[in-house]
């Protein structure tokens, strides 16, 4: 089932061309690794998909809906973990998750809290948590309501290798009935988790296809395309 469709999408911020005429499709069950250097256009593309930003030109469709015109409807079915994971630091973990769930009109999945390992800190203030725990809070918030589309902007950023591994396993486990797009700088993460690879460079998609086979294949391809 086709969930995401971008056709010739361009985004310009005054004199900066952030996204340059990109097109791609994403189906249910796909885990797309979105790879690119800083400023390549990954976050802007994700924000365009959510209707958070308006494209300068081109067409975007999420589950046959326009994310700008039908923003509220689209966002009911999308989970998003923003870059740097902004959270309300003054809130407790359970208060924050209850707030997000209430706004979405959904309930919190206790399973997800257990899987991510948040149960020990559920009554703690977010400002007192480590970066790893904060990242988990953001991830659980994105998963509230069991959305069909997950957009994760650097989901393992700032986590130690053990925590990174946990999050990767969770993403893989979730992928069967979802479309997942995640951005990362960690090439091995794409190798491990993604079923498809999109490399974006200077706002253009320079690669869209299967992951190269073999260890280090993604790294070689990335270095070749992004010089």
């Amino acid at each position: 089932m086709l969930m995401i469709l971008l056709t010739s999408v361009t985004k310009r911020f005054r004199n900066t061309l952030a996204v340059d005429n990109i097109s791609f499709k994403a189906k249910q069950g796909e885990i797309i690794g979105f790879l690119g250097v800083n400023g390549a256009g990954k976050t802007t593309t994700m924000r365009l998909l959510l209707g958070y930003l308006n494209s300068t030109s081109g067409k975007i469709s999420i589950d046959n809906l326009n994310p700008l015109k039908d923003r509220i409807q689209v966002l009911r079915n999308v989970g998003y973990l923003p870059e740097n994971n902004p959270l309300y630091q003054e809130m407790k973990v359970d208060e924050y998750l209850t707030f997000i769930a209430a706004v979405k009109g959904k309930t919190i999945l206790r399973d997800t809290i257990d899987q991510v390992g948040l149960e020990d800190v559920i009554k703690s203030k977010i400002e007192n948590l480590s970066r790893g725990y904060k990242q988990r809070v953001g991830l659980v918030a994105a998963l509230i309501g069991n959305p069909q589309i997950l957009i994760l902007d650097e989901p393992t950023s700032g986590l130690d290798p053990i925590e990174q591994e946990k999050i990767r396993k969770l993403i893989k486990k979730l992928s069967s009935d979802k479309t997942i797009i995640f951005s990362t700088h960690i090439l091995s993460e794409v190798e491990d988790v993604a079923t498809r690879l999109i490399i974006i460079h200077k706002g253009k998609i320079v690669y869209d296809g299967k992951k190269p086979r073999g260890r280090g294949g993604v790294e070689k391809l990335f270095k070749k395309l992004v010089k």
Partner: protein, 233 residues
């Protein structure tokens, strides 16, 4: 929207500073009125209602400065606007939460008319109209402060700009401007003076043009804040 309204209210109610600010306002408002009451020798709430805009000049920008600016600075605005909430719902929820907080603060001054009623008979419609007018003034000032909060990521800048704007609005029909500006300009500016419109309420008169002034002024600044959220580039 109700959820966000509750969250915003809880920010002030779960925070000791919220209580301190509310109580400080109530203490100042009560004290500044009571200290002169026996000097004036008149049992009327008029001087209290005339005093309120000057207290709001600091109080409302202090409460409102963080409301959007902090969300922009910490990027939690991106969290809010990628949830199924419209920009209008975000601004309205925040606005209503602030109006509730200031409304609670005003409630803490209700002891004044009750106490005065023991000294002498008070004209109740005048009191009711005075509080109603003050609440409308509050809404107008909050919307204006929220507009400035939506223009920047810096709370201090939002606070200072709000104070400046509220000060200008407050003084445009006072003796200060009357002594500086020509009569024709002064007469024109009086139309935009919240003090001038509040005066009608203080006298116990609810005029349609004053209602229109406060409601339309509030809506204009809320609308401008919504527009700013919609731009978000």
């Amino acid at each position: 929207m109700k959820t966000l309204y509750k969250k915003e209210l809880q920010y002030y109610l779960n925070n000791p500073i919220g209580y301190i600010v509310i109580v400080l306002f109530a203490v100042f408002a009560n004290f500044l009125f009571v200290k002169d009451i026996f000097v004036v020798g008149s049992v009327s709430m008029r001087s209290f209602f005339q005093l309120l805009p000057w207290l709001f000049l600091i109080y409302i920008p202090a409460l409102s400065m963080r409301i959007v600016a902090e969300e922009k600075r910490t990027n939690t605005l991106e969290v809010l606007l990628t949830l199924p909430l419209s920009e209008t719902q975000v601004i309205l929820a925040k606005f209503l939460a602030l109006v509730t907080i200031v409304g609670v603060s005003l409630t803490l001054t209700l002891g004044l008319p009750v106490s005065l009623s023991f000294l002498s008979g008070l004209y109740l419609p005048e009191i009711v109209a005075g509080y109603f007018g003050s609440l409308l003034l509050t809404s107008f000032y909050i919307s204006l402060s929220m507009f400035f909060s939506s223009q920047t990521k810096n709370q201090v800048v939002a606070f200072l700009l709000s104070i400046l704007a509220l000060f200008l609005f407050t003084v445009i029909s006072t003796d200060v401007t009357a002594s500086i500006l020509p009569r024709s300009i002064q007469d024109f500016l009086v139309i935009f003076s919240p003090m001038n419109h509040l005066l009608n309420f203080i006298k116990g008169v609810i005029e349609v043009r004053s209602l229109f002034y406060f409601i339309s002024g509030t809506l204009v600044f809320l609308f401008l804040a919504v527009i700013d959220l919609e731009k978000r580039e």
